[in-house]
């Protein structure tokens, strides 16, 4: 029997091309990639500074409607307050390239951070996108949970409501809280990855 293979529609390979972000799911269980970035308050911040602590990475774009859903309703800030009080280090990261949505001078980002009464440990700028790509940051918001031993426990969407509609917050199941609450009480994380939703991260072309 002859099996004829027909070439399919011209499709760009989705696998890791040079410069394309890693797949979030593939990073779960792996060592969290090291990084050193500058915060909007001018401090140098390295992931290695926080060995021994749970770390949350939050990919951020203040102009993205999906991010605003969480910030306008104090949802993100509430989570930041709750978990930083419990000793979690919360790092928000802006990977928008110059000239793209979400990119602002660090002083402007710091002003926005304050205006929203955000409670993260630091807001870091990653305008060349290297850290975003290394974590497979595809969308804002996207959340990563790193264990005290430096292993990625969760990488994906913040909740199960991929919509910019604030009404969805009432019934949303929050994957970040679920992952942190489980890990911090010594239990395995049930859902380790979900498809990130939101605005695509605006990497440099």
């Amino acid at each position: 029997m002859i099996i004829k293979t027909v070439p399919i529609l011209a499709i760009l390979a989705s696998s890791v091309a040079l410069g394309a972000p890693a797949a979030p799911a593939a990073l779960v269980g792996a060592a969290a990639p090291a990084f050193t970035l500058t915060s909007t308050e001018g401090k140098t911040v390295s992931l290695s500074d926080y060995k021994g602590k749970f770390v949350v990475l939050e990919w951020l774009n203040f102009d993205c409607p999906f991010v605003r859903k969480h910030y306008n309703g104090d949802n993100m800030q509430r989570l930041q307050r709750e978990y930083t009080k419990k000793g979690v280090v919360w790092l928000s990261i802006v990977s928008s390239a110059a000239g793209q949505q979400g990119n602002y001078p660090p002083s402007v980002l710091e002003a926005k951070r304050k205006a929203f009464k955000s409670a993260q440990t630091a807001l870091l700028t990653d305008f060349d996108g290297k850290v975003g790509r290394s974590y497979g940051a595809k969308a804002t918001p996207q959340m990563v949970v790193i264990s005290p031993k430096g292993v990625i426990l969760y990488n994906g969407a913040i909740d199960d409501q991929p919509t910019p509609d604030p009404a969805s917050l009432k019934t949303a199941h929050n994957y970040l809280s679920a992952a942190l609450d489980a890990a911090m009480s010594g239990k395995p994380v049930a859902v380790t990855t979900t498809q990130p939703y939101g605005c695509s991260v605006k990497y440099a072309e």
């Binding site: 099996i3 004829k4 027909v6 070439p7 399919i8 799911a25 859902v191 939703y197 605005c199």
Partner: protein, 265 residues
Amino acid sequence: MFVAALALAPQLVRASALSDVSAIRPGRPFRVAVDLKIAPDWHTYWINPGDSGAASHVAWQGPPGFRFGALHWPVPSVLRTKEETSYVYRREVRLVTDVTPPKNLRPGQKIALRAQVDWLVCRDSCIPGKATVALTLPVGTASKPKAALDDRTLRIPQRRPNWIPLAIQTKQGYLLTLSGGAKSLPSGDLLFLPAQSATVEHGAPQPLSRVGDSVTLALRASSYAQRPAKRLIGVLVDGGGHGWQIDVPVRQSPQTPALKAGSKP
């Protein structure tokens, strides 16, 4: 940049309501649609938006006794960038709903039907939008056909009863096979668009093979799937943008071990 875009927002999508009848006959189903006219270079999304974006929502309301069915989604276009694959509509899309009116309507009665619509329209950035659209129809016995809202005109995917679909779970994902009489299966390139997110990897190639009267697509499971899909639901599209409904249970091949949740496909 975002502020400038916000000022344009009302013009990015213009929503209106249409019907395929000029009068409502008691008890006789008809169709209504929300028409979205989308600014050039911008797009809205399918029921499964793909790697990013958000589907539009339509909620119809009418007087008591009017029953509205589910949305029929036209075949979307596939939008590929270096990093993502999404399922989108450009320029214009009509989202159609079947309506069944009650039997107890008086001739000449005026019926107001209203829909709340919301969407996400994107180019490089995304702007959510919403609108309320309405139309009023009289109750009558004769009706002149109005807008063409039939499946063919709107490119709503059809079932093909003479195709026999089969889906088998594999280590990498799934094999979707369609068997049909000679010449009944579409020729050329084919692509399966999943209607459910986190089932099939949106951007992965789907190698195709033809054997006799069947065609098989190899589908990669989504890296976000918590467990293997129980059904493959979606649309099979050909190179010309024609689409056919697919809804088939996934069978385990006797030789394939079940994917464990959390394991890499």
